[in-house]
């Protein structure tokens, strides 16, 4: 009787699991309560995902664009972006520039002080950009534009085979090639210097458009609408592998030789970029077992120091071992968060509240 009274719920659940009576994923990893050690009011009602660049945080939202030094209680700067609609993607930076925008405009600001430098107004609809040292590559309607980072002028434009598409997702760059998947079922590789076509891959039987693209080594890892992840040779356009997630892929992340994604079938996958094979998978959801399930995954998965950070929609940050996918830590938040997480050294991270606050969190 005494033994039973001492058997708290956690022990009871652990005992069931040890006896094989519960699925292993029910067993919680260690839980760590987070502490918000610093807060910055951004002046926005809705923040887009944050960007962590050279140890500084950049944020934008419905009203402003700003910069934060995590070691400083005051905002470095915070300026009205004066876009005619919300800034909807995380800021990008290159050199002395930070890029922000929405569907109607895209602009360049000076990183040092937030001085507005130029504004590109949409020809039709501006997509999400990729930024390198000299250019900002972005879809506008069906075109791919190369905007000069110094002036915002269009240095070249590339038109796909049809104008009956909308290039919403970011291009990416590898070496001297820009990759572009505008929505006509074709992936275009164009010359970085002049926008001339190098090769194209017609896969319209499989996808309509490409969501996110990342290059690692010689492999372009492209997420497609709706549920296929592709590994493509960057030089030739040859499809190296395909991975079907069983349901649509909202976003994916690539780090080193692995790609990470969450599938609504209830699994986080780590995919070997060289082969497309599943390196490990971690079950997040066993449908019908709501109490034990993670929330769905809205935030992009992030990797940091060989660990995989997954913020679910129950406001729990899960930390997995990058090697085997084992859950190491759960960090439950008591308040609602925007779908973004930026891990920092020393068991810290930067989060965004749903009230427009940027938060430095310790766990």
């Amino acid at each position: 009787m005494m033994a039973l009274s001492n058997l708290n719920r956690r022990h009871f659940v652990a005992a069931l699991a040890a006896g094989g009576l519960l699925p292993t994923f029910v067993v919680s990893a260690a839980t760590q309560t987070p502490t918000v050690v610093r807060r910055w009011a951004s002046g926005n009602t809705t923040l887009a995902p944050l960007a962590l660049l050279d140890d500084h945080i950049f944020f934008n939202g419905d009203k402003t664009l700003g910069r934060i030094d995590p070691d400083n209680a005051a905002l470095t700067w915070n300026v009205p972006h004066r876009l005619s609609s919300n800034a909807v993607y995380r800021p990008r930076a290159a050199g002395e520039l930070v890029i922000s925008g929405g569907q109607r405009e895209l602009g360049g600001w000076r990183q040092a002080d937030g001085q507005a430098l130029w504004l590109h107004k949409a020809i039709l609809q501006v997509g999400t950009p990729f930024v390198d040292a000299d250019h900002t590559y972005v879809g506008d309607g069906h075109w791919l534009l190369a905007l000069n980072n110094q002036s915002g002028a269009i240095d070249w434009r590339f038109a796909p085979d049809t104008d009956d598409c909308t290039a919403a997702y970011a291009p990416t760059v590898a070496g001297e090639t820009v990759f572009f998947g505008p929505g006509d079922g074709i992936l275009y590789a164009v010359n970085r210097a002049d926008g001339k076509l190098t090769w194209k891959l017609d896969e319209k039987k499989e996808w309509q458009y490409v969501r996110q693209m990342y290059v690692t080594g010689k492999v372009l890892v492209a997420g497609t609408y709706t549920e296929l992840l592709y590994g493509i040779n960057v030089d030739t356009g040859k499809v190296l592998w395909k991975f079907k997630a069983g349901n649509f892929i909202n976003s994916h992340h690539v780090s080193g030789d692995a790609a990470y994604l969450w599938s609504p079938t209830g699994w986080i996958y780590a995919i070997d970029v060289a082969t497309g094979k599943v390196r490990w998978r971690h079950q997040t959801t066993r449908y019908g077992n709501n109490a034990a399930n993670w929330g769905h995954m809205m935030a992009e998965i992030v990797t940091f120091e060989n660990q995989v950070y997954c913020l679910d929609m129950k406001q729990v940050l899960h930390v997995l071992d990058g090697v085997d996918g084992k859950e190491l830590l759960r960090i439950p938040f008591a308040h609602d968060l925007r779908p973004t997480v930026s891990p920092l050294p020393g068991k810290r991270g930067v989060m965004a509240s749903d009230t427009g606050e940027v938060q430095l969190v310790q766990w």
Binding site: A48, V88, Y89, A168, Y209, Y225, F248, N250, T265, H296
Partner: protein, 293 residues
Amino acid sequence: MPFSPSIKQQFIQIAKAGCVVAALGFAFAGNALAQRSIAEQYILDMKEGKISAAGADDHVVQELIIKRSIPITYKYINTLMNTPNAFGPGVACTTCHNSQDASKSYRGLDLSTCKGINDGSTEKPKRALFTPGTDAKRDILIRRLRNNRMPLGQGFENSTYTPNHMLVKQWIADGAKNDDNFTKNVLPLFSTANAFGPETPACTACHMSNQEPPSFHELNLTTHAGILLGADSVAKGVDKATKVIIPGSPEKSFVWQHLSEDRMPPGISPSEARDHPNTTILATWIKQGAKCD
């Protein structure tokens, strides 16, 4: 030395014959090309590196059957309908749909015969399951095998006839207007947890905006304009977004379909991939005309 007329004539005849032989040769070659066996074509594709990369659950079906236009027989479809787990874990389709007698078979749907499959549901409102010869992905037979009910993870034991469900259905039936009824009674449902099932997040938890990373299916259920705009509006563009509401027609509206239709077979988990190889084969049979021979 000039040829005599007779010899010349013989040359001409020989030449003509040669042309005929050559033509016949080309014809035979062309015929051989047209009649190359499936196996020969497959070997040729292998040699030319035209076999697509593996990865998808239905890769085998796509590569070996659909790409080569192999006719799907009703005999195989009949086997599927009578086989447990044919489309994912669950009972055979004909367990519940085996007669046009609606007192014995759900919806008076007989999936045990080819005619029954083609006839569809015979109970009012009568409804065909697909249009033979067309892509059936959005038609009810294939959609019930692929689409998970929303909110994700809802079991068939949770009613689809709750007052909240009926409010949405009636709003669509009445024209999906942006009126007081919508603002006060319908819109708040999408942002309320447990509105359409126990222990479920609000619809807007996943479908709240067009943003990076995108709201699921880039669908914004927080405003009337967002709902009427539809899904995938960022990538497809506003004009080509997938409409999720068809004013006046709940049954054609994806929002209502996803709220009210359980994925088959009953109890199948959303963990199961949507494109089961047999579902792909069934859709191919329909596209090939849903023939009974």
